[in-house]
Symmetry: C2
């Protein structure tokens, strides 16, 4: 499908693309640029054919596809190198979780002769690093591509690439994307962080070990609160406007809930709880989770 692919930043997501591309034979040669030495050693073990490069210099001029999977705060430095060394036939993509900021960055910093179509595969885990990657990571998961008026052909090429990795493709506008994921991803993550923080604060004040009893619910949130902090700092900063609005809506719901329980509004509360159950059924129908109940992870 491509002759040469270059993956810039090869952590959990990057190495999953790498593994998928190799296993699906999507390229003749695959190059990796990764600064972390520990990661470099893990990458070498994936496949002997992988070519690790030490600099983003002239060597990259023959790449057909460049996938950027570093934290978004690295993009600006990378763009300078791409502007210098890439040719106008190369398809550039990235896997960042917010799209408005990258649209702006491309407009302002990327050379006009270069072509970048943004991707956002909705897959991941709390684990970081190439050893946790999997060629199946994208299987049956959504991959959002951001509409690109400039180059429909490259858009199609990119779409085929993700389909070969197992993704289901959806096109969105960047501002629509950032609004939707503020709700379904950014809010849940910041809520998980703040739930853990609240438990830690309580633990400090009351000198009681509460983390010990986390199997009652807190445990479920601690998993996503353990996600990579650099990646999430970038997401929270880049989408702060949409996230702030949704935090306000969420706080309003929490305050109403507090009134419900203090005033013992029975039928109203039951109604709310039942409605949440319906969302769960919808999620299962849409195959976004499995229905097998989780009884404590080891049963």
């Amino acid at each position: 499908m491509f002759k040469n692919i270059l993956i810039i930043g090869c952590g959990m997501i990057g190495s999953s693309i790498l593994r998928g591309a190799i296993s699906q034979k999507l390229c003749k040669k695959v190059y990796v640029y990764e600064k972390n030495i520990k990661y470099q050693n893990q990458i070498k073990k994936i496949n002997k054919k992988i070519i690790l490069i030490k600099k983003l210099d002239k060597k990259i001029k023959d790449m057909d596809l460049v996938v950027i999977s570093t934290p978004m705060s690295e993009y600006q430095k990378i763009i300078i190198k791409l502007n210098k060394n890439l040719n106008n036939k190369t398809l550039i993509t990235d896997v960042g979780s917010t799209r408005g900021n990258v649209t702006k960055l491309i407009k302002e910093k990327l050379s006009k002769k270069l072509n970048w179509v943004m991707s956002h595969p909705i897959s991941g885990s709390e684990a970081s690093g190439p050893k946790f990657g999997s060629k199946n990571l994208f299987k049956n998961k959504w991959c959002i591509l951001i509409k690109n008026k400039k180059n429909k052909l490259l858009e199609k090429k990119l779409s085929r690439f993700w389909k070969k990795l197992g993704s289901r493709i959806l096109f969105m506008q960047e501002h629509e994307h950032d609004k939707v994921f503020a709700v379904t991803s950014h809010l849940p993550h910041l809520v998980a962080y703040n739930l853990i923080k609240t438990a830690q604060d309580f633990q400090k004040t009351y000198k009681k070990n509460v983390i010990k009893y986390s199997a009652g619910g807190l445990r479920d949130f601690s998993r996503i609160a353990a996600s990579n902090e650099i990646m999430w700092r970038d997401i929270f900063f880049n989408n702060s406007k949409n996230i702030s609005k949704i935090i306000d809506l969420f706080i309003r719901n929490l305050k109403n809930f507090k009134i419900d329980i203090n005033k013992k509004r029975n039928s109203l509360l039951l109604d709310k709880l039942k409605k949440s159950k319906k969302a769960r059924q919808q999620i299962l129908l849409l195959k976004q989770d499995i229905s097998k109940p989780d009884f404590g992870r080891e049963n």
Copy 2:
């Protein structure tokens, strides 16, 4: 260990106690009182020796252990029957998730000659009904027993019973229990409900299907938001004072977080995110979850 055990209310938790007691041979005869006809049929299939009773009348006078595992809103009606028909040698226990309210109920409504030692096994899932029970549900999980000055002997007997089911025992005072679980269980659950509600509200206002993209984080919360609504209504009402306080602390953290991301407080935010990761490590060390990363449930 006991001659006769009676389980009142035999859903997921009750049937797990039932299964454990049979498999560990903790009694000669096991009786079940369950009003739900669908559940009755599921219970019959567990073991032929189970004796289903239709009324809590004189027949129950020879019970050595009575385990109440109905929603807490049923307790008052049950106590009237126990007062009438039980003898003073019977050990009564229950598995309710809040303890202050039940302490009060026992003091006010239970006959002084009867003996009730409260239990709270920290195990469960979003599934309801006896067909989802498991004899291993309590294995290596905490079971909190509430200190009972009146009868140390029965306390020991109950502790042995739970240990045979696989539980690890911890004693607490009722007010301490309700404070701790407001943080580790009640807050996470109400947060999950309100996260789903916020996503549903957003969906309505913007006419966008956001549930579709729940694999980005929301999915993880939808599981516990699908828990039994009667059980949770009871918990929220019964522990509303402690829960309200912890909602306030949580909202304060959310508001600070909003300021952090809007003012781009870099090192402060990174510090907060890193601290959450530490709690995750603690939870894994305490064996309250498994470390295997979750890449999307089917990989």
